[in-house]
């Protein structure tokens, strides 16, 4: 067998073994015999949740805790059901602001990162202000923003954007900068234009960094939407979950407060799950973070 054939053969073997492993997931004792393993992965968190709720319910019943201190899960569920229209419209407001802020942060963060990657001078001129925006507590800037913006909603949107913007910007910048120097040399050798280098090399290279920034920004946008609303002090119809939280507290309607909290947590979890899914789908073919380790 010649050398070429030998390595071809070796390669073919490597390939078939890769296919074997991907189609046949059974021989992984650590993750249990596939079917039961998958069931357990689903079952354990659910059982844990049900257990916690039962303990909570029993605790409230046994110690007869007043509902304005700690409502039982049943009462919270009742509140959720009864106040559903109010809570849902509040959730919708908060969610809209969060997603809008996130989208603007993504577009703006990536655009600014690309701009800064084009020239050291632009970076020197702009980056300090991005840092200043980030390190100044958003609650402290909120009163000013409120004065300058026409509506409270716009003010909250800006607060959420400021907070979500920085992780996207700094991660994408880092990703654009960490391009392999030899690949840059290769692009230079083949006389790639600046645009080609950006599209074919720098942006794909920055993708994992950007996606890590996206996951952070998604959570932060929600947090900032709530904090922004606290700071802005909205009231009445058209306000978000933060206002409903405060209102429930003033009225000692603790079951509704819990209901609003649960909705907020669920939203946060959903945003995290969605951004993680996007990240996984985009990286699963090639990036070490998303590829299952096989050994």
């Amino acid at each position: 067998m010649t050398a070429v054939e030998a390595e071809k053969h070796e390669g073919e073997m490597a390939r078939t073994s890769v296919q074997d492993l991907s189609t046949d997931e059974a021989p992984r004792p650590a993750e249990a015999g596939s079917a039961t393993g998958r069931w357990l992965r689903f079952l354990i968190p659910v059982l844990m949740l049900v257990g916690l709720i039962v303990v909570w319910q029993v605790y409230v019943m046994v110690y007869d805790v007043p509902h304005y201190i700690l409502p039982s899960p049943v009462r919270v569920a009742q509140a959720l059901a009864a106040d559903w229209p109010v809570l849902l419209s509040a959730l919708w407001v908060t969610l809209t602001i969060t997603l809008k802020a996130l989208v603007i942060a993504l577009v703006g963060g990536v655009a600014l990162a690309i701009l800064m990657a084009q020239s050291k001078w632009i970076e020197l001129a702009l980056y300090p202000y991005a840092v200043i925006l980030q390190v100044t507590p958003v609650v402290a800037i909120a009163p000013l923003i409120l004065i300058y913006t026409p509506t409270t909603q716009a003010a909250i949107l800006i607060c959420a954007w400021i907070v979500a913007f920085f992780p996207v910007l700094s991660n994408t910048t880092q990703g654009l900068r960490s391009t392999d120097h030899n690949l840059l040399n290769l692009f230079e050798l083949y006389r790639a234009s600046r645009w080609q280098t950006l599209i074919f090399l720098q942006l794909p290279n920055a993708l994992p960094y950007f996606l890590a920034g996206l996951r952070i920004a998604g959570g932060l946008a929600l947090i900032a939407a709530v904090v922004g609303e606290f700071a802005a002090g909205t009231a009445g119809a058209g306000s978000g979950l933060a206002f409903r939280l405060l209102e429930s507290q003033y009225r000692l309607n603790i079951p509704r407060l819990f209901g609003a909290l649960i909705l907020l947590s669920l939203t946060g979890v959903l945003i995290f799950a969605a951004t993680s899914l996007v990240s996984h789908l985009l990286l699963r073919k090639w990036h070490e973070s998303a590829v299952r380790r096989e050994n």
């Binding site: 690949l183 290769l186 050798l189």
Partner: protein, 275 residues
């Protein structure tokens, strides 16, 4: 790239005998004051297989990059007498470069990695398909067009890198210690494959290495370099006929050349120590 240093083509009748690329008094000093290359003069003829051999820091990689047009010279000239219709653009198109690492884009399939040089010239995927598959065929990797680099072994990645360098059908192939990170068995295989391709296609190869054995096995000529400052010390012609196969590795001629080259390299290294 030092455009001014590129001269126009000489008389076409002598072009085939003229060197393909010619370095005259080339020096390179880095911004930190390190003299990477001092007064290097070298002619590379068409269809030659020249190795630049030397200890690390002797400027052999720097010389290769300068020939590729990556980075300027501090002084000296590079001319391309053997390239007709000589322009910077033209000569660059005829260069293939293989780095020490495979330098593949991890997010792109093997096909897309090899397609890259053509893609940058505006050749569409479908128009490039034939060329890409042919280049992959040369290195025996047609079946891996849709694999990602992370799924390949080190030797296979290097083959992809070579296929990518070959796809533009370069006249001159520059290789910067391409097999240094591979195990010996794979390196021997790739040495043989490279020689076969070179004999078949008749490119000019400049091959940077720090291995005496590799350089003797592959080259028609070895340029021995010394470090601090990087400079050419010696030149040896390896007159053993091609094709060279595994028997050559165990022949007495091969051993003789290895000993000579080794001596030249030691002389070069001692020379720099006494400075």
């Amino acid at each position: 790239m030092n455009t001014a240093a590129i001269a126009t083509a000489p008389d076409p009748t002598t072009a085939s005998h003229a060197p393909l690329v010619s370095l005259r008094g080339v020096s390179k000093t880095f911004s930190n004051g390190t003299v990477a290359l001092q007064n290097m003069s070298l002619d590379i003829g068409e269809r030659e297989f020249v190795s630049l051999l030397g200890p690390s820091g002797c400027g052999k990689s720097t010389a290769l990059r300068i020939i590729a047009g990556l980075g300027d010279t501090t002084s000296g000239t590079i001319t391309w007498p053997g390239v007709r219709d000589d322009t910077t653009a033209k000569s660059r198109h005829e260069i293939g470069f293989v780095f020490q690492e495979p330098t593949l884009m991890p997010w792109a399939t093997v096909f897309n990695n090899v397609w890259l040089p053509l893609r940058l010239r505006g050749v569409s995927r479908s128009a490039a398909r034939g060329d890409v598959m042919e280049a992959l065929g040369m290195v025996g990797l047609e079946k891996f067009a849709d694999s990602y680099p992370r799924e390949l072994s080190g030797g296979m990645k290097m083959r992809v890198s070579i296929a990518r360098a070959l796809i533009t059908r370069p006249k001159l192939l520059l290789m910067d210690e391409p097999f240094a990170a591979l195990d010996e068995i794979t390196r021997f295989k790739l040495n043989n494959d490279l020689l076969h391709l070179w004999e078949k296609f008749g490119w000019t190869v400049i091959f940077v290495t720090h291995s005496v054995f590799e350089s003797v096995y592959l080259s028609s000529r070895i340029v021995v370099m010394a470090s601090r400052p990087g400079r050419v010390i010696d030149e040896l012609a390896i007159d053993a006929p091609y094709p060279r196969e595994e028997e050559f590795r165990t022949s007495s001629i091969y051993n003789e050349y290895c000993r000579k080259t080794s001596d030249a390299l030691h002389a070069a290294m001692e020379g720099s120590e006494h400075r």
